[in-house]
Each structure stands twice: as structure tokens, then as C-alpha cells.
Subunit: 167 residues, 2 copies
DNA sequence: TAAAAATTTGCAACATTATAACAGTTGCGA
DNA sequence: TCGCAACTGTTATAATGTTGCAAATTTTTA
């Protein structure tokens, strides 16, 4: 089976971005949602970075584009993208990352490397099942799951000590 | 078996607070850590509320005490309490809640009611196991788990529609 | 097509959450 | 009682996120 593209494994990332954007356009078309230029650009910026991007990072990049933007512009675009499952917000980082499998309903589970900052999104049915079971046992009706796992990615484990690997 | 004290089940909460404080004193004694007046007071304030308290909520209450406090005072106390496992930070709420079973190592799993705001801390070995299994499969070395489940607690489910129950 | 309605964006101000840097104070052992 | 370490106070500032309203744009309707 072909190697999956992983943040910490070198690959042609422009391709990832292109695919993500194409998929986003398709999803918005189906949802009759408008992927306007600002929204698309924000999504692109987020995808271009493997590491989650803060709202103000996005803002800075927009400004670098020459776009005269203010915080609300960015937050609104991010809200839109989240609503359509195109990006996730990582609460423990106050940052945003592209969704790996948009369209499919899933609880975002994230492996966050504290050394290099890369993030891997997992689809982990076992975890989801365990969570739902535990919640049901408490008669709790689950609506949203935030699961963020911090630690060391494979590459940063093998690197001596704790030096971060360049992105 | 005796009914467990649950945030959404009426009970003598002063007792919870007293027990939590006594336990905290004991833990700090064993750890040779100093549970100073500010720290103890912050812990008490957090325990007095079933709902997670923001740092600035704590600050406001300290000020109401007549204590002339500033943000760093609160954040430092909270850091201390977190380090000793006496409180948890809920990332998705930017707020803090008392730890239900301090001393024991555990990954905090939280059921957060979006209607009444109460939070229940779970010890869920199954979930932890599933998480560790998934992480291991990705050769990821887990250090810290953030698991926050938002939804409706039993009481708010049975209340018609979405009206919040008073605390 | 033209007017009306709805959505999106721009913009200024502001609210909330968190940290940095440094000075003063307190507890405690030598 | 001196000195060190830990803790607290204080001021300022950084980082993150929101409100409210007006202008522009797109979509809908007549």
C-alpha cells in the first residue's frame, strides 16, 4: 500500500493544498455554500502550513497579500470553514488546521507534537466508540468531542533529546 | 451503593469543598509544596462553583474579598494548583475546574453541559486505553491528553427544549 | 431588467484571556 | 541575623476573540 502523506514525512505539499482546495470547492458546491475569495484564501493559507495556524497568523499573511483585513474577516472565514467541516480548531493551541477528510462526519482526534508542532489528524473509531459508551453510561448526550493528544511524533522521538526538527 | 455526588444532583456542596480542601492540604504536605493562603483561596473559589471558573472570575472574587489582586496572582496560583493535580484547565472553555480525584494520575475526561454549564469529570480507563492504542499505532509518544465532551447532561435533556436549568 | 432582500465584507472599537519584567516580601536554614 | 529561595505585588503589554454598524456584493423576486 502506498505511504500515506504524513506531516513529518516529506512529500509534495502543494499537491495536498490543491487537493484540499478542490475538495472544498466541491463540498461547498454541494452544500450551496459560497466559497468566496477570502474564505478560499484563508483555507489555502491554513493548508499551506502543516502546523496549526493562529487566527492572527492568518491575518498577517492576508495583510502580506496586500489584503486590508481585520480580525473579524479572519474569524468569520474560519467560522465558515469550520461550519462546513473544512478546518478544525485546536482548542489547546488556539489555532486552526485543515481537515483531512472533510465531508465525512467524524470527531477530530489530533496528535500534536510538542517538539516540531506538526499535527496529525486521526480517524479513530475505537476511541469514538469508547467515548460514546462512557457518555451513555452517564446518560450524557454527546454533541461535540474535543480530543487533543500532545506528545512526541515519531521523528522527534528519534532525534536526540528534545531538539525540534525544522518544519 | 450510595449515590455519587454529581454536579447536577442536589447535594451539600460545602462538604465537597471542605473535603477537596482537606485533600489538597494533605497532598501538598506530602509533596512538600506550600498551599499558601492565596492558593488555597483560589482552590476554594473554584470548588465552590460547579461550573468551571475563568481566571478573571476568580480574580473578581478575590477582589470582592478585599484582596488587591492582579491577573498574574491568579494565573500563578492556577499554575501551581494544576501542577499538583488539584485543578484542571478546560481548554475549550478557557476555564478551570476542581479535580475530582487528585493524587491519582489520570487523563481528565470532561462531560460539559452546554445548557447548564456544569461539568462532570470522568475516569474512563477504556477511553484512555483506546487512545494509547491509537497513538501507539502511529508511533506517537503520548504526554498529555485533552478530552472534552460537550453536550447535554441528564437533567438538561429532560427539561423541555433547551432552557438552561438554574445552577 | 430593476427593485428588494439576503449575504458577505470592511472597519472601528472593544472585550477577554494570558504573560513579561521587575520590585518587594516572607519563610527558612546556615 | 544574614542570605537564599520561593512567593506575591504591580505595572504594563501581548495575544486572542467579539460587537455593532455601514458599505458592498450577490441572489432573489417582481
Amino acid at each position: 500500500m502506498p505511504a500515506r502523506a504524513l506531516p513529518y514525512r516529506p512529500h509534495n505539499h502543494d499537491l495536498c493544498v490543491d487537493q484540499a482546495l478542490a475538495q472544498a470547492r466541491e463540498i461547498c458546491r454541494r452544500n450551496e455554500a459560497r466559497l468566496t475569495p477570502v474564505r478560499e484564501r484563508v483555507l489555502e493559507l491554513i493548508w499551506q502550513s502543516h502546523k496549526p495556524l493562529g487566527a492572527y497568523d492568518v491575518l498577517a499573511q492576508l495583510s502580506a497579500d496586500g489584503h486590508k483585513a481585520a480580525p473579524p474577516t479572519v474569524y468569520r472565514a474560519l467560522d465558515f470553514l469550520q461550519q462546513h467541516g473544512l478546518v478544525h480548531r485546536i482548542a489547546s493551541l488556539n489555532a486552526f488546521t485543515g481537515c483531512d477528510h472533510p465531508g465525512q462526519h467524524h470527531c477530530g482526534t489530533f496528535l500534536i507534537c510538542r517538539s516540531c508542532g506538526n499535527v496529525l489528524e486521526l480517524a479513530a473509531p475505537n476511541i469514538t466508540a469508547a467515548i460514546n459508551q462512557a457518555a451513555t453510561a452517564e446518560t450524557f448526550q454527546v454533541e461535540q468531542i474535543t480530543l487533543e493528544i500532545a506528545g512526541l511524533c515519531p521523528r522527534c522521538q528519534s532525534d536526540s533529546a528534545d531538539q525540534p526538527t525544522p518544519s
